[in-house]
């Protein structure tokens, strides 16, 4: 019985770097586990500094303001936060898989109460576990059975409610994922099955005693005690002098303590295996509910986010994913989801026509919405490739192998003169991880040196990235860089400029324009000094 609501034919797939102690705690189904792990990690961190270079995930989280997004999805619930984080950072690359999730999510958006109901059932089941496990009992086969039977009796009730929900709601859900899920619940948790389970749970109390088979081992001691199902007694055997099956009976005298202890040992050897089977079965049920909880947690996160966006009137749509390498990017009203979650007002959206484009140079006035555009692109890709809706009225793009950001860092003011080094080091790290069909978002990269140098460095990087089939979106003030690409008149390059009204107001819209030189210095000089005085050496690098 598999949940399979996130993937058509597998459980939630989290990339190795995120399969850490917290994830293990989440998967265990123990309701207090995450808190425990957090405490342990905190203790470790306190006991000594562990400096790890921030992987790409950490960089993305910072540059794309992912915490804001996850917080909105979590709505205060730590579990939802962790699931959202892992889902979004573990991108899907198969358009079909994305569509599968979108359809499930569409159902969730239609019937949020049902989803929350299912989630609560999972929590109820895990709570049953927690309550019974908190009893401390000596570890004996009997106690193991006793505890497991108690848990399973409670779980049967939850399973029954789960099936009833499935039966009531199945007609309302149209996604492949939910249809399969509900059908499975209906079929697997039929009344017959649940009765069988309840019958077992009754038998496991061994009210009629235990029947064990055995064979002879060394020295004729018994071994391989295996509990057997007892035949229903024939009515003849129930009569006082009825035809009993052949067997020899003896009774342990009431005062014979050693005898009872010995008998208990023999009995224990047999039910040891039954106890193991029952306890493992309870664990299986627990792991099913645990998985259900995790997968539904993702969709609940999406519901929470959608509520926030709807409340502000911001649009959201299901994007159209295309196979990697198709060089597609078309968007209407694409906006920065993280930004809107910060502000009380709505934010401006942008239209993009970038099909067939591998490079986009974005220039123009400050605070004109350039970095916002970068962020909205990055977020849109991550959200699309998690199977979510995106912040736009329309969005069509090919899936990327990964999103990489190279933003300027303000906080490195302490490093005097090392800023360029720092930028280059970060780009080098990216170079070590980036692969074909990835996306690189550069926000004023290499601005920490003069324009000529910075442009040259950037040119090399961009050319290499393009040649390696990586899409580059470059926000820059460096006219030299932007212009050099413009002059090549490539079909695959797009040039956008942040709009600026003559009176200086910003529209936060980007329009397709050629890059402008950012300074008017030479014109001013000519105006003031007159033409002809300028020599080439004036342009020597002195900065």
């Amino acid at each position: 019985m598999k949940v399979f609501l996130l993937h058509k034919d597998q459980d939630i797939a989290v990339k190795p770097g995120l399969r850490d102690a917290i994830f293990a705690a989440m998967a265990s189904g123990d309701l207090l586990a995450i808190a425990n792990v957090r405490r342990n990690l905190q203790r470790e961190r306190n006991s000594g500094p562990i400096a790890a270079a921030p992987g790409n995930d950490a960089v993305l989280t910072q540059d794309l303001e992912l915490q804001t997004l996850w917080n909105a999805m979590a709505a205060g619930d730590e579990f939802l936060f962790e699931v959202a984080r892992r889902a979004i950072l573990s991108s899907l690359s198969d358009p079909d898989a994305i569509v599968y999730r979108q359809q499930v999510l569409a159902d969730c958006l239609e019937h949020p109460e049902t989803v929350r109901q299912l989630y609560q059932l999972a929590i109820d089941a895990l709570e049953n576990e927690r309550q019974v496990s908190s009893l401390w009992l000596l570890s004996t086969p009997d106690n193991t059975i006793h505890r497991s039977v108690r848990v399973l009796k409670l779980q049967v009730e939850v399973l029954r409610r789960l099936r009833q929900t499935a039966e009531q709601q199945a007609g309302n859900f149209s996604s492949e994922g939910f249809r399969r899920f509900f059908a499975m619940l209906s079929e697997e948790l039929s009344d017959d099955y649940l009765q069988t389970v309840e019958h077992h749970l009754h038998e496991l109390e061994f009210r009629r005693g235990v029947l064990e088979s055995a064979e002879l081992a060394k020295g004729n001691k018994g071994r391989r005690y295996i509990v057997r199902r007892q035949r229903e007694q024939r009515w003849t055997e129930r009569l006082p002098f009825g035809n009993r099956s052949p067997g020899y009976t003896f009774t342990i005298p009431a005062r014979d303590e050693n005898g009872f202890k010995a008998l208990e040992e023999i009995r224990g050897k047999g039910i040891n295996h039954v106890a193991n089977a029952v306890a493992q079965s309870a664990d299986h049920v627990k792991s099913f509910f645990s998985m259900l909880r995790i997968e539904l947690a993702f969709y609940l996160g999406c519901l929470n986010l959608r509520e926030r966006l709807d409340a502000k009137g911001e649009p959201a749509c299901f994007p159209v994913p295309l196979a990697a390498g198709q060089r597609t990017l078309t968007a209407d009203g694409l906006y920065d989801v993280s930004l809107t979650l910060h502000l009380p007002d709505r934010v401006v959206g942008n239209d993009l026509r970038a099909d067939g484009k591998s490079l986009a140079m974005i220039t123009g006035a400050n605070q004109g919405g350039k970095s916002t555009l970068l962020r909205s692109l990055g977020l849109a890709h991550l959200m699309m490739q998690s199977g979510m809706f995106v912040g736009a009225q329309l969005f069509r793009a090919d899936v990327c192998a990964g999103v990489f950001t190279h933003y300027k860092r303000e906080e490195d003011a302490t490093m005097q003169g090392g800023k360029l080094d720092e930028e280059l080091a970060r780009m080098s790290e990216i170079a070590g991880q980036i692969t074909a069909n990835s996306i690189l978002l550069c926000n004023e990269s290499f601005a920490s040196t003069n324009e000529r140098e910075g442009s040259e460095i950037a040119r090399q990087v961009v050319r290499a990235m393009l040649d390696k089939q990586i899409k580059v979106f470059f926000v820059t003030h460096m006219y030299d860089l932007a212009h050099s690409f413009y002059a090549q008149q490539l079909d695959t390059a797009l040039f956008l400029r942040a709009e600026r009204q003559p009176d200086g107001r910003r529209t936060f819209k980007l329009v397709e324009r050629e890059p402008l030189p950012t300074s008017y210095g030479e014109d001013s000089y000519r105006r003031i000094f007159g033409a002809g005085e300028a020599t080439a050496t004036h342009l020597a690098d002195t900065r």
Binding site: H200, L216, G219, N220, G222, R228, Q230, Y248, A275, S287
Partner: protein, 541 residues
């Protein structure tokens, strides 16, 4: 279709494949092989009555013996070490066996056999310790099963190996015959059949409160499997085990015994066979195999002792022995007891050479104290003893005599009961020895007669040497009386060496040269500047 017996009677002879089934195998009682220690069965007779010879403790052979039998007490090996051989052929028989044991595969095979037989004996011991008959019978059955396994393995392994000794070859033949014999194969077959039958017994126990019902197993399904199957559909991945560790012991509780009784009643045939098995096969152990198991330990114990010594670089060799010629020699030989004590701690022993030729019979050993004289004397005695057991002896090479008896005369505590005093005690003992010794004996005398004056010691020593010479026996005489060393052509003087510059340093080396006890005194006096000349120089007038 004729029956087998009818067919057999039609044929003129019995040499036919059809009637092969009624031909019996070679009779194992027709013993061409009886012992791996003694070529002639009679030599082995009366061994078990022997006591420890008097010379054992003087020569530290008791220490050596203790080391060897440690862990092998069950084999009662001491009598074998007390039974010296007196003819060269018997010694040769054992040398051959030992040479075969130098092949690792042979040694491993017999060692494995010994271990298996040991396990068999453990089972018998366990059977004796248990209380319930049904348990005792089962352990006995297992013991016999192990025995059959041991015999078959050994027969098969040895059969495939290249052995040159008469002992092993005869053993191989014997084992081949025994393993194929009716007597053995029938035991093996019955054992196997009974084990299989017991393994096939399946019963059920129904426990309801204090009532226990034992019945036959009638194919009721495995309940754990049913439970597992019911919940298998929820499985998402591996889960941990909840099996509780339960203790168990060899013994049976009275409850288990009562259950077992009823199992026996449910399976009367099998358990009747088991009950009869014990008495029917009480004498399952073939006497010759058993004897081999015990006697082989004699070799294994000794090899186990000298193994580490050889690994440390000490030489061992097979001596040339004679019961007549008294020309003897040894090269790089040493005291076995001393080596066994020192080598484990990383120490080593000094090798010595000696020889006697022509009319020479007695080593007279003199020299400074703790220089190795007593060790030399012990070595001499040990060599002849070990040679007489057919064992390899310490040394690169050796040519030794087979004595009829070894006598020792070492310093003893004064025996207060005799009221004689030490000197007279010693005289009495020497007298007794000389009355019993023959020309074929070996005598080792160590520091005798030193509880009297030099004159008396010289007188007595001279007389004793004369009587020894008359007997013509071989011996060592350790003394501080130098003059004795040069008494006759029969005596050979051996002196323990000192380092002149450092007289206190021991070399443990002895060489043939005239006694010069004063040399030591002079050297040590010289070291401290106490010679006459030095004193004259030193003391002021």
């Amino acid at each position: 279709m004729k029956s087998l017996s009818q067919v057999g009677s039609d044929l003129p002879s019995s040499a036919d494949g059809v009637s092969a089934s009624v031909r019996s195998g070679p009779d194992a009682g027709e013993a061409r092989f009886l012992s791996i220690l003694f070529e002639q069965p009679s030599s082995g007779a009366g061994v078990d009555g022997r006591q420890e010879p008097d010379f054992f403790s003087d020569l530290n052979l008791d220490q050596v013996l203790e080391l060897m039998i440690a862990g092998r007490e069950q084999y009662d090996l001491k009598p074998f070490f007390y039974a010296s051989l007196h003819d060269v052929a018997a010694v040769g028989y054992r040398h051959e066996v030992l040479r075969d044991l130098e092949q690792p595969v042979v040694l491993e095979s017999v060692t494995r056999f010994a271990e298996t037989m040991g396990r068999m004996r453990d089972h018998l011991a366990q059977a004796a310790k248990l209380y319930y008959p049904l348990q005792k019978q089962a352990w006995f059955l297992d013991a016999v099963e192990i025995y059959c396994e041991a015999v078959c393995s050994l027969a098969e392994e040895l059969g495939g190996l290249d052995v040159a000794s008469r002992g092993f070859q005869a053993l191989c033949d014997y084992l081949a015959g025994y393993a194929a014999s009716e007597r053995f194969t029938s035991i093996a077959a019955q054992t196997k059949a009974l084990k299989e039958a017991l393994a096939g017994v399946r019963y059920t126990i129904r426990i309801n409160g204090a009532r226990v019902t034992v019945s036959n197993y009638e194919g009721e399904p495995d309940y754990s499997a049913e439970v597992e199957e019911t919940f298998a559909k929820f499985e998402q991945g591996a889960v941990k085990s909840y099996l509780v560790r339960l203790r168990d012991s060899v013994d049976m509780s009275h409850v288990e015994a009562q259950i077992l009784d009823r199992v026996a009643r449910l399976n009367p045939d099998v358990f009747r066979t088991l009950a009869e098995y014990g008495s029917r096969h009480r004498d399952y152990l073939d006497a010759t195999v058993g004897r081999f198991d015990r006697e082989m330990q004699f070799y294994l114990a000794y090899l186990h002792l000298i193994g580490p010594l050889k690994a440390a670089g000490l030489p061992f060799c097979y001596p040339r022995v004679s019961a007549r010629a008294k020309d003897i020699a040894a090269e790089e030989t040493f005291d076995l007891a001393l080596a066994a004590k020192l080598v484990p701690g990383g120490g080593t022993v000094v090798g010595n050479d000696f020889y006697l030729e022509g009319p020479e019979r007695i080593f007279v050993v003199t020299g400074p104290n703790n220089g190795g004289k007593t060790t030399f004397a012990r070595t001499f005695g040990q060599l002849h003893f070990l040679a007489g057991l057919g064992l390899p002896v310490p040394g690169q090479s050796a040519r030794l005599f087979l004595p009829d008896r070894i006598y020792t005369h070492f310093e003893r505590e004064e025996d207060i009961e005799t009221l004689r005093g030490k000197f007279e005690d010693e005289l009495v003992r020497v007298h007794e020895i000389l009355e019993q010794a023959t020309s074929q004996s070996v005598l080792v005398m160590n520091e005798s007669f030193n509880s009297t004056t030099l004159n008396d010691a010289l007188f007595v020593g001279t007389e004793v040497i004369r009587r020894i010479r008359e007997l013509g026996l071989l011996g060592v005489y350790v003394t501080f009386v130098d003059e004795i060393a040069s008494l006759s052509e029969a005596t050979v003087s051996m002196v323990s060496q000192i380092v002149p510059e450092n007289p206190a340093q021991r070399t443990f080396k002895l060489v043939r040269k005239p006694a010069d006890g004063l040399a030591y005194a002079a050297a040590i006096a010289g070291k401290y500047g106490l010679t006459y000349q030095r004193l004259m120089e030193r003391i002021g007038s």
